[in-house]
Amino acid sequence: MPIRPVAKNTASSVSMSASPGTRASGSAEAQANQQVVEERIVEIVADSGEGAQKAGQIFGTISAKMGNGVWTVEIIPAEIKPPSRSRAGASGIRIRFGTKEMTNMGDEADLVVALNEQVLFGRMEQRAYHKGTVLLLESKWRDDPDPKVRQAYADALEQFQHNGYTVHEMPMEQACMEHTSNPRLGKNMFVLGMLCWIYQRDATLAEQEIQAIFGRKGEKVVAMNQALLRAGVAFAREQLEEDPYYIPPMEVDASRMVLNGNQALGLGVMAAGIEVVSMYPITPATSASHYLAGVYKKVGGVVHQAEDEIAAMGFAIGCSYAGKTACTITSGPGLALKTELLGLAVMAEVPLVIIDVQRGSPSTGLPTKVEQGDLLAALYGEPGDAPKPVLAAATIEDCLELTVTARKIAEAFRTPVILLTDANLASGVQPIPRPQVTEDWLAPPIDQSPWQDGVCPYDWDAETGLSPRPIPGQRGGEYVLTGLTHTRHSKVAYDSHSHQLGCEMRSRKLAALRSTLTPPKIHGDEQGDLLVVGWGSTLGAIEEAVNRARAEGQRVSSVHLRFLSPMEPGLKEIFSGFKRVMTVEISYSDPPEGLTMGGGTQPGRPSQLALLLREQVGGEIDYWSITPGHPLSPRQIYDVLMGRLADLDVV
């Protein structure tokens, strides 16, 4: 049993006088009875408004500051204040930390702190826990005045025990009451203190974080939260036995920064020299704009909150047309609304960066949950042929760097560029290397020199489709941009030749971009039985699953695509080295074997990336995709890979 309470219950003896220190034991070294492990997965699950995420973020940050690898995933309900103790209203956070770099949420949690028992059911459904997962459960519900609550609590305990969890009921709220009259608002720091003791985290770092986060609210608030933190440390020391597992701090790489994907997008926007982000609030994209709204001034940028998604897009297009390439950040429903203007931007060749932080779809779908369902919409969402580059971030680092790349491509290829990220990256926190930003990352000043005589506004190069773009203010470059079919002179044309030519020129730009790309790197050997192809935030989980299978001698490799339109070259050659190629995606597809119906079988619809690969690379492409509303775990993917290998008769 990994963690268990000391024999006698001494909750009442918890006092504020406990010194936080680095740890109760006074040292951050493994004790004789402790075993050094590579990683742990911890969750804090609560009702919305109890601050679970804040506590988890601080825990993740201090772990990163101790040199450990970290990945956090937020569990966010769709409502601000869902009814308390509701199964669907669970709000929380998972922190996976350890001695290696963490690239995904991992498998089942080792330890969960739960402020009520009901919020755990949603997590159980998602197989977040396994036999032996330790639950530190708020015990006050056992004695709740409402018999229904008492009954629900008792039933849940029975279920937890049946599932094989190790449950420790703990009077956390009661212990908090000594320091605050409203434990609902302070319990999170108390829990943080407990976790700091359990995992020998440096509580001084936690106190510094509290100072940094609550400093604005005044010393009183800081002091109270720090007191709760210390009380949590003391409480855990009194109540729990020494943790038999130990994650040693690592050498701190001072050149690393800790942030989530939406913050990385914001930094990317600034590092790209984009001066305007034109947006409309939409989950889970908005926090990128929140971040920018606070800091954009430092680089001379402005966030425009438009009256709707369409206006946000129109404003961005206007800004870009006038020479200042803008960015609009949205999610699937917003992308849908922007479709018509996106078609215009393609047609009239307006450089622009559109970031889609994907969520569960279609329609309003699952606003706070991850999905990769917008791939085909990004590529083919507009009526007619509207080719445009589509990039996808696979890591938090990508969120920053691909935004810079996207602006460069947008301007060099005179086109809107879509960058896809998702809810997993948006709130996932990880340490990443600090980028070395140089002047050439920023947008150059706009060209206001006279336009070259005789050059028309769409002077398409016959081979690449590329053309220089006049910017308003350039004397002699006057032209009228139009969404109507137009000639090289941007004159409205109704003839078939002009229409065909315009379509061809825009399409050629994609081929020209493709000619500048290099084949993706293969994770694993170049030859084998099975190749997994993925895109987006599943990178870490796929590679971890592949590593696991490879460690067992399986001949599995993977490639991960950053460019979806145009696709990176060389895929055909890479695929030819494997007996089977399959995609792994978080989106809906019918089973590859088809759907049984009326005694027969109807063909099923493949997953989105598989469909694209079949079209663009050809050959047989197998797929596995689901829409669970949460990130894929390495184990889930591993099981799928092993199943496929068994089909191939190589296991």
């Binding site: 930094l267 800091v295 001379g300 206006a311 047309y321 006038a322 002047e439 009228v480």
Partner: protein
């Protein structure tokens, strides 16, 4: 020459723009269309103000009137149906040096783009918005628009439009942070010119509601107003539209109206017996979104890089 010293010669502008310098492609509106008059007025104002063509941007949505940018020899943006205003605001946002004209119609502005109309007025960015109101969808061939009079037969309401029309002047006057609202008619070019001229001098968004005839579908809807100028009383004031007295004489009814008086403007616009024309409301002191959007525009590259490093510092371990 004549023994005069050279430096006494007239100070000639390095560039002088003639009317022709603003003429773009041949206008393809129907003969007799009221849009021609508006186009001419805009070209004249550009010439009179000597705005360099390359510093002028005409933005439009979709519809007959939205073809206007094609007929100007300036930069132009012929956008999408209803979206002229967000696009124009985006253009102006980081380019305060550009002079922006917006051409929109009663369908474009008051129907499909109505949401943007409210908010663009509220943003109050510095540009002239010309609403070409011909009471009908022309380009798509005679469907009911929000300004089509009740009972008027259209292809979508063959027995006559069902519900009362909206008056864009009245509606715009009701929007928060409105700063300039005028109404004029295409059949009186001097008034049209003087109104657009006044609008172009305004700091903020000037909204000009132009009653404009569509000879094809609504050639007769303004006939009464044309034939009896008494029905279009002229709003007069020292701060209003200044009209040549000979032209003003055409209008038998003059109504003194102080354009700073919003309450009076609301009363004026609600009269159902007549259609007053002139400047209803102007307030140059209202906040302009331009001021917020141009923050950091002049920032030097080194300062940007420094700001960025500070932002990165914030996330360091």
């Amino acid at each position: 020459m004549f023994g005069l010293k050279k430096d006494w010669s007239l100070d000639v502008l390095p560039r002088y723009f003639t009317f022709e310098d603003y003429e773009g492609g041949e206008a393809r509106w129907c003969p007799g269309c009221g849009d021609f008059g508006v186009l001419t007025a805009v070209q004249r104002i550009c010439r009179d103000k000597q705005i360099p063509p390359e510093k002028t941007v005409c933005v439009s949505g979709i519809g007959c009137s939205s073809r206007l940018p094609h007929y100007m020899h300036t930069y132009g943006f012929h956008g999408l149906h209803g979206r002229a205003l967000p696009i124009a605001c985006g253009i102006k946002s980081r380019r305060p040096d550009l002079t922006v004209w917006v051409a929109t119609g009663d369908g474009d502005c008051c129907s499909i783009g109505a949401g943007h109309w409210i908010h663009a007025i509220r943003y109050n960015m510095d540009m002239v918005v010309m609403l070409f109101d011909n009471n009908i969808y022309g380009l798509t061939k005679m469907q009911t628009s929000p300004t089509t009079r009740r009972g008027f037969r259209t292809n979508t309401h063959p027995e006559g439009a069902w519900i009362p029309h909206l008056d864009p002047t009245a509606v715009t006057l009701g929007f928060t942070n409105v700063s300039f609202v005028a109404r004029t008619v295409d059949w009186n070019p001097p008034h049209l010119y003087a109104t657009l001229q006044k609008a172009s001098e305004h700091r903020g968004m000037s909204f000009v509601h132009i009653l404009q005839r569509c000879p094809h579908f609504t050639g007769k809807v303004f006939e009464e107003l044309q034939q009896d100028p008494a029905l279009t009383p002229l709003l007069t004031h020292d701060d209003g539209i200044q009209l040549d007295p000979d032209v003003a004489k055409i209008f038998p009814n003059h109504q003194v109206h102080d354009p700073s008086d919003h309450g009076a403007a609301m009363q004026m616009v609600e009269r159902d017996d007549v259609v007053p024309i002139g400047l209803f409301f102007q307030d140059q002191s209202r906040p302009c979104y331009d001021e917020f959007m141009k923050q950091g525009l002049e920032m030097a590259t080194e300062d940007k890089l420094r700001g960025l490093e500070q932002a990165l510092d914030h996330f360091m371990i």
